[in-house]
Amino acid sequence: MCKKPLIDLHDDKLFITFEGELTLYTIANIEKALAYVKTYSFNALQLDFQDVTFLDTAGALFIYNLEKYFTKKEIAVTLLLEDTTQKDTLNLIKENMKSSHKSVPRKQKSFLEQTGELFYNYYIGLLSFLHFFGKLFTTNLRYITSLKNIRFKEIAFEINESAIRALGIIALTSFLIGLVVAYQSAYQLKIYGANIFIVDMLGISIFRELAPLITAIVIAGRSGSAYAAQIGAMKITQELDAMKTMGFEPFAFLVLPRIIALVITMPILIFVADMMAMLGGLIVANIDLNITMELFMDRFSEVIAAKHFYVGIVKGPFFAFLIAAIGIYRGLKVKDDTQSIGFNTTKSVVESIFAVIVCDAVFSIAFTNLGI
């Protein structure tokens, strides 16, 4: 129990008597009760701890500080402490405080220093990404020269893991996107009585842009992040080190199969996304705009050139490469703590989606200028 200390001033001598427990939980109150004592004037102090039933290290530290404070002010302090275990605790604190120095807080950096460090780290990050790409290409060259070196089993495994299992979610997402885009534009087109143009609109926007982007985003969120987390975890458990010491180059065993698997399957996934989004559009056109399926198909084969389809498909391998490379790069950047897995997984998704969109913009400009 925490009891307030009894404070008694006799002539020039102050008596403070503590009772009950002196612990982590009680010293805050006691400290408050003693706050005004410091304003008294006296030249001798007696601290009585004889009725203290329990003293922990925080309590001992409190006593030590109290004693130090008054001794500094040249007040004679007498401690009344009888219990031997409590004395031992106090002595432990005293010894420890003498030998340990105040811990130096981390040096605060100036704004200029922080900015410099930030940019330097970005620069180093860029260099290490380039290093990764360089290594990727040299390993590529070394391993692709011979068919024997290509790890078909791993590639097949990764195709199943990161593409075939993603089919459902990609089909569903793109179907919904087709539905939504068609629904929104149907409303506008109806106003002008331009119902049939929904086919042109859907065909071009889905084939050229929407399907590849949706697929890339889903794959980045699903497979790219998985790459980062898997490889990051392998780094923490030292599996990557074990592979290296056994002569299994991680680039050949982990990195290339994943990249190849995604590069192969991305165009197929985009194709699926194309079909599902068009299906969604077709349903809305049918219900909302009264365009029959035959009419939709006729118009479709009339206005949508095959090039639109190819433009979308061609982007696939590029997006796939970016997503896989960034995911793996982030996985390899994981340091020896668990926090860094989460950080790098998040980063991998953000960066790969960003990279995909930048790449898409470049393609868009290039294709338009080429007249495709």
Partner: protein, 244 residues
């Protein structure tokens, strides 16, 4: 024959000097220990020996090959001649114990499936694991078993050199002593040369032939355990003092 020669190795990580001119020699058939206080760079040196980490200057010669200028082909051939046991086993978590041990054999040899199976079974029994454990995944077994399985994998290719990073840490005393006697048995049976990092005094006294003690970026002692207490050093006194 000198298996490993470390000469004037200096390692700088960031702005921290880890090693400042290390020299040591490990001969064939020795069980050699790297000791020292935590953070002195024992594991770093071990990682440098197995090509996981680069050192800043100096030279390490391993089985006659100089690591600082080694070609990829030579490095690959070295990797077939050593086995490494990591502190927590570092088994491939997507493979069963059996597959873990079999992996190097499948990758690097032309042996038949049946032969590989028999070799794996022998190695698993050798390290004291039961045959029925072979089909478990690393997540399904205890830390001690993982270490044993890691050792079985390190031994899969019948290496000349075995590197062990804290082989007995985290094991209960009985398993730790079993591990020690296993290591001695393996050395006598297979003629291995073993390099290990260890903190376990009992294990150090039971197994090591020679030690190198790293403290304050330098090797402060290299030699047998009997003479180690003649050296005046805080770490040696506090570490070995109790055993006198």
């Amino acid at each position: 024959m000198e298996f490993i020669k470390v000469r004037d190795v200096r390692t700088v990580l960031g702005d921290k000097i880890v090693h400042d001119g290390l020299n040591l020699t490990i001969n064939e058939g020795e069980i050699y220990g790297l000791l020292g206080p935590s953070g002195c760079g024992k594991t770093t040196l071990l990682r440098e020996m197995v090509l996981l980490q680069e050192f800043t200057s100096g030279s390490i010669e391993l089985l006659g090959k100089r690591l600082e200028t080694i070609s990829e082909r030579d490095a690959q051939s070295l990797r077939h001649q050593w086995g490494v046991l990591f502190q927590f086993g570092a088994l491939f978590s997507s493979l069963t114990l059996k597959e873990n041990v079999a992996l190097p054999l499948i990758e690097y040899t032309e042996l038949s499936e049946k032969m590989i199976d028999e070799i794996v079974r022998f190695k698993i029994n050798l390290v004291g694991l039961k045959t029925e454990d072979a089909n478990l995944y690393p997540s399904e077994i205890s830390g001690g078993m993982r270490k044993k399985a890691g050792l079985a994998r390190a031994l899969a290719m019948d290496p000349k050199l075995l590197f062990l990073d804290e082989p007995t840490s985290g094991l209960d005393p009985i398993s730790a002593r079993e591990f020690d006697s296993l290591i001695l048995k393996l050395r006598d049976m297979l003629g291995l040369t073993i390099v290990m990092v260890s903190h376990d005094l009992q294990s150090i006294y039971d197994t090591l032939d020679k030690v190198a003690i790293i403290d304050n970026k330098k090797i402060i002692y290299e030699g047998t355990l009997q003479e180690v207490t003649n050296v005046k050093n805080d770490f040696i006194e506090s570490f070995f003092g109790k055993m006198k």
